[in-house]
Symmetry: C2
């Protein structure tokens, strides 16, 4: 079996602790199933800045591009709050997204049945929730130029960012959303602010055309992004797949994640275009949660989002669908058994640390 090259970027805060559980899992899979994973590790975020003065080194960047998949932990922390904008921890993640051309960010918002009661929303509103946010990840206001602060004199400065979208960018991200919808409940909701933004007008137009040309079997709705935020809070089950731009996707996927009451549990996948020859997509998998510096190093972080991100990696990068299903089932089973890390602890459950949670999932796998 051909070897599968994984590049691990654990990052800062709880990133390394969560990644350690995935490393155990990979070792177990290589031992038990002869899965053939080969891993290498690099630095990203504050820890890369401390080592090389950049949020990711060129050498690690090259390894990320060459790998079959990148597993990413989390970046940032108060230690690096004052470093220059260009080398702040987030710059490492943004460079990975841009240089690997990971334009499609898949963020499932799933409510684990065992956790439905812990949402701030009423149980009937979130129970059984399963939506997928498809966020454009390499365009929009994140990367458009000019992006600068100008000194106007007289104590006045001007901060500028530019939102830019081209037809092809909207076409390819909506194509992915429609394809994924076909494997789900066949319904896409596209969100923008066409009533205020020209990029929103173009977004709406191109999604509509792409739908008509290639995906007319899928149900398509359009919603203004502010109304979309409202509807996510009011009745999230009305959605199946949501497709939206980089900034709206950032906001809306965070709101959606919080609805589920399962924030520490949610994975994400960032995918590039298929290679013309090998058909393989570049890919990076990361938990939705951040680096949580306040609980780092205490052995109490929840590793489930990182492990679930590895399940997405099995599914999307290696077509190991059975194994991905099995790993997701193992996570659900451990929760059903009442095991909880501190962040999701509730009365009558058994509180465990990071490694115990990882071990329990591996044991069920």
């Amino acid at each position: 079996m051909a070897s599968k090259n994984l590049f691990l970027l654990a990052g800062d805060g709880i990133g390394p602790e969560a990644m350690a559980e995935v490393k155990k899992l990979i070792a177990a899979m290589n031992g038990k199933l002869d899965s053939g994973f080969v891993t290498d590790e690099g630095l990203v975020g504050g820890s890369a800045y401390d080592a090389h003065g950049a949020a990711i080194s060129d050498a690690d960047m090259a390894k990320a591009i060459a790998a079959d998949a990148v597993l990413f932990g989390a970046v940032g922390g108060p230690k690096w709050d004052k470093v220059a904008y260009e080398v702040r921890p987030e710059a490492g993640l943004l460079r990975l997204r841009k240089d690997m051309e990971l334009f499609a960010n898949l963020r499932p918002a799933i409510c684990y049945p065992a956790l439905a009661a812990s949402s701030s929303l009423k149980q009937e509103v979130v129970e059984g929730l399963d939506i997928l946010i498809v966020r454009e990840l390499t365009g929009g206001v994140y990367f458009g130029e000019p992006k600068e602060i100008i000194d106007l004199g007289n104590g006045q400065k001007r901060g500028i960012d530019t939102q830019v979208y081209d037809t092809f960018e909207i076409e390819r991200i909506s194509g992915i959303a429609f394809e994924l919808a076909r494997t789900r409940r066949n319904h896409v909701t596209s969100m923008e602010k066409r009533n205020v933004m020209k990029s929103g007008v173009l977004w709406n137009e191109v999604v509509t055309q792409t739908h008509k040309a290639k995906f007319s079997d899928v149900k398509l709705d359009h919603m203004l992004a502010d109304a979309g935020g409202m509807q996510l809070v009011r009745w999230p089950k009305q959605f199946d797949v949501i497709v939206t731009d980089n900034l709206f996707g950032d906001m809306l996927s965070d709101v959606a994640a919080m609805l589920t009451g399962s924030l520490g549990m949610l994975p994400s996948a960032s995918l590039g275009a298929p290679d013309v020859k090998t058909k393989k997509r570049k890919a990076l998998y990361e938990p939705v949660h951040g680096s949580a510096p306040d609980i780092a190093g205490k052995g109490i972080a929840n590793p489930i989002a990182m492990i679930a991100s590895f399940a997405m990696c099995l599914r999307y990068s290696f077509a190991m669908v059975a194994e991905a299903d099995k790993l997701e089932a193992a996570i659900a089973a451990v929760l059903d058994d009442g095991l909880r890390t501190k962040d999701i602890m509730s009365e009558g459950m058994t509180e465990v640390g990071t490694t115990q949670m990882g071990d329990a999932i591996i044991a069920k796998f």
Copy 2:
């Protein structure tokens, strides 16, 4: 008593029905209290387009600028979905905001006790909620140039919008937020995406400076806007005043409004700078809800948000604080009596139409 000039722009959909209730209220106040309100009316949105081919005429724009306050209903509807971008219904509202220089949008998110159970969030999460979102309204990506769609040839187009903020704009909006916080729980949370946007870096810097220079008695926190969206859903009561830019404010205030379960009830005020001579601020008051074309003309729309917007007008434009308090109390009392329009109807309550709801509030006032 000097006359108080109100310019009424009822707009489209349920706007005119909701405005009719405010007109009755104004007549009652002029009769009973000799309040001296003088009203004039104009067209905005789709109805202005139908009449003059523009979303607001220059003549009505001049009247809005000259008035002591503008009361605004709602704009838009499927009838105008295909009209050109420059004359779409929203353009009327955007022109009013820009030409009247209404840079400060105050959006209270209050959970009426009688309606706490109707939120999609758990009752304990929203009961007693009272937050105020202060949204910048004349800058950012709404108005920055370039804002255009360029034809690149080869079937490719490029949509561009520009986010721009100058120091003085951030200074004046955060100044309003700090001042309002002093009249409330003395706590401001500023939200931006400084980890991705240069305008966010400047926003953060200027809010921090303004705080240090003039408002250091107020508690100030900074939060990334995506995390802010999450925290609004998780535990909204952690907030008092939130200050943020035009686009984030659009999204976050809609999410906050939906949390309360009282969307049809929420008012807003949009204020300009005080005139150097008269010290009066230009002002426009409008409900947070939209034009709801699906229920327009049926006599079932909820007029409370429009009436509560008029209460804000009494408070901010005419310093009629006692009357504003009394009007807000009348709204709460009618809800406590069990009167409900269709949108907020629940078991055991009494369903009433638009005019009955208006009459009941006026009777309690």
